[in-house]
């Protein structure tokens, strides 16, 4: 089976600054991939590389087995919803649909029109006067009715209010269920993604910190709390994050396979995706922060 997205030593440099470095990913088809990271981490760069809008500085990237944007056929296989969902302000909703019909060989006009009808968008309205949520819906419609095999969405809900956010993602999930497309969507908020994605990529400071099936990641990470840690933990346990008080230690650890036998004084709890992502983001910063860190504000 070809990978939806595969990168090898991928890097992109702007001038002297690396926006993305040493990126090695292999994402199978049929997944809903959440790409999480703070603003400026390189999410957009990675997604732009995947749709072929940018060319890599080093390394390779293949999407559905081909070089991104390598000709019209490859372009037709990938749908893209860009950040801030740009539209042509002076063209109407209907004109956008017509444009997409002209430009895409697999265009599903029926699907597009029924979606526009269902979303209560006025076909005669100029796209420039749509609300943020409506605009996002229009662009998503354009991307979906193109009938792609892979749908890439760059911060699609960032500018939406909580209600529109929920509706947008719900709608997206329905499409995924019906059409069976692979999806990559990015966000700086884990909470947006944890309900919808089954594959997680954490990107911080232009490096991939963590990538894997969401269920595997949740199964292999644990919260440990117990008396102040002295000495070392059994082998096979990697400490991702630790906080210590005089009497107590709280750890977030990773173990391949099941957790080895531990002293019963440790209490083991499962982690949430939120915990996981924040722990890896903090780790990337190279500092151990107290439990209430500025990063919490992101939530």
């Amino acid at each position: 089976m070809t990978a939806a997205l595969e990168t090898n030593g991928l890097g992109k440099r702007y001038g002297r600054r690396w926006a993305l470095q040493d990126c090695n990913l292999s994402i199978p088809e049929g997944r809903v991939v959440g790409l999480v990271g703070p603003n400026g981490a390189g999410k957009t760069t990675l997604l732009h590389l995947a749709v072929g809008m940018l060319a890599p500085t080093v390394g390779t990237i293949s999407v559905l087995g081909n070089r991104p944007a390598d000709g019209p056929a490859q372009l037709a296989r990938v749908g893209f919803v860009a950040q801030e969902t740009p539209v042509y302000p002076r063209l109407t909703v209907a004109q956008h649909l017509r444009m997409a019909g002209w430009l895409n060989p697999n265009w599903d006009a029926e699907l597009a029109e029924s979606r526009i009808g269902r979303l209560d968008l006025d076909p005669g309205q100029r796209a420039g006067s749509l609300s943020g949520g409506q605009r996002a819906q229009l662009v998503l419609t354009l991307a979906i009715a193109k009938r792609p095999e892979l749908l890439i969405l760059d911060e699609p809900v960032a500018s939406l209010d909580p209600l529109a956010r929920r509706e947008f993602l719900q709608d997206l999930m329905e499409v995924v269920a019906v059409q069976g497309v692979s999806v990559v969507l990015s966000s700086h908020l884990v909470s947006d993604l944890e309900r919808v994605c089954d594959f997680l990529v954490v990107l911080t400071a232009s490096h991939v910190q963590l990538a894997g099936e969401a269920s595997d990641l949740l199964a292999s990470h644990h919260h440990l709390s117990g008396p102040r840690l002295v000495g070392t933990l059994p082998s096979g346990i990697e400490v991702i994050e630790q906080t210590h008080t005089d009497k107590q230690s709280v750890l977030l650890v990773r173990s391949e396979g099941s957790l080895p036998f531990l002293d019963p004084m440790w209490s083991v709890k499962p982690v949430t995706m939120d915990d996981l992502v924040l722990a890896y983001m903090r780790q990337a910063r190279g500092v151990e922060l107290p439990a209430r860190s500025p990063l919490e504000v992101l939530r």
Partner: protein, 349 residues
């Protein structure tokens, strides 16, 4: 893609054609009258004998309108580059809509080529029609004034305007692609376009074809006097060659050696004295009447070895020049477009 490019360009094109229609009405209302006046007065002037009066009188008709139409023809290519060329890609890059366009099933090279081609062709059609109308309207005036090669006139007539328009669009697109901001791209496009046009007029155009030289004997009736720091010198007449482009006129001997100041002083020692002291330096005068005989003698002596050499492009070169200039600007437009394609393919940084 052509339909999409047209969808985006059709409003501006419609506005341009509305403007053209307006010009067409003005030209259609006033043009036939000009033709009639020309036929009635200038065409038959040889029979009456006094052609210069008839021509001068005729050229006073619709002078303001002629000037404005000329300005319009000069300005249209620049305005097209400014309002059509520069924003064509810059606005997409600035507003982010290129991210929508480039992820449809059309390569960005094709997207660029079709967009530029649609707007470029529209620009050439608009400029060509405008030039055609104005060239037709002004043909009696141009025939009467017999100065088709002159600086504003050559640029306002014929096929060169099409080349200017195509070049302006390509220039605007290239600048927009590099600057990626609409308003700065518009300003830069206009400035660059003016620079190129001025450079063409003053330095490039005269090199298209080697000029001709016309050698004629010195004629005391048409020779003037020039006074400078070194005293007197003879001033060559401006020859009257209809519709020609005269580069220069000077005196030279058989070997091409120009007439030196010292030679004049040696051959015509009485010239300064006869004038009664030097007039203010640098002034250019027609020889005063009382100097006629002195000047006559002087010219006769000088003419023994020297003659007048006029360097010029004859009227017959006019259309060759038009075609060459059209080719130069279309070629420049193609080179700029090729650069744009290369630039967009290598991926915007």
């Amino acid at each position: 893609m052509i339909r999409f490019a047209w969808l985006q360009a059709r409003t501006q094109t419609a506005i341009a054609f509305a403007g053209l229609a307006l010009v067409a009405i003005i030209v259609a209302l006033t043009g036939p009258h000009l033709v009639h006046l020309y036929d009635a007065n200038v065409a038959t002037c040889a029979a009456h004998g006094d052609c210069s009066t008839a021509t001068d009188a005729f050229l006073r008709n619709d002078k303001t309108l002629g000037v404005w139409l000329g300005i319009l023809v000069i300005a249209i290519p620049g305005l097209i580059g400014l309002f059509w060329g520069a924003p064509l890609i810059a606005r997409e890059l600035e507003s982010g809509t290129y991210r929508l366009a480039w992820t449809q099933s059309v390569t960005r090279t094709r997207w660029l080529v079709i967009k530029v081609a649609v707007v470029g062709v529209a620009a050439m059609v608009v400029a060509g029609l405008l030039s055609l109308m104005v060239t037709w309207w002004a043909s009696p005036i141009d025939t009467a004034s017999a100065n088709r090669f002159s600086m504003p006139l050559f640029d306002e007539r014929g096929i060169v305007v099409i080349g200017y328009a195509a070049f302006a669009v390509a220039l605007g697109v290239a600048v927009g692609l590099l600057i990626r901001r609409t308003v700065p791209a518009m300003a830069t496009t206009l400035a660059a376009f003016v620079v190129v046009r001025v450079a063409t007029i003053f330095w490039i155009r005269r090199r298209y074809i080697a000029p001709l030289h016309r050698v004629s004997a010195l004629d005391p009736q048409t020779i003037g006097l020039r006074t400078g720091n070194l005293g007197f010198s003879l001033l060559p007449p401006t020859p009257n060659i209809p519709n020609a482009w005269i580069y220069s006129t000077h005196f030279a001997d058989k070997s091409g050696q120009p007439l030196a100041h010292s030679v004049v002083a040696r051959l015509c020692p009485h010239l300064g004295g006869a004038l009664g002291g030097p007039p203010p330096s640098g002034s250019v005068t027609k020889a005063p009447r009382h100097l006629d005989s002195v000047l006559h003698d002087c010219v006769a002596k000088v003419a023994f070895r020297y003659h007048t050499v006029t360097t010029y492009q004859p009227a017959s070169h006019y259309w060759t020049f038009q075609w060459i200039e059209l080719g130069v600007f279309l070629g420049a437009a193609l080179i700029l477009s090729a650069f744009c394609i290369w630039w967009i393919r290598r991926g915007l940084a």
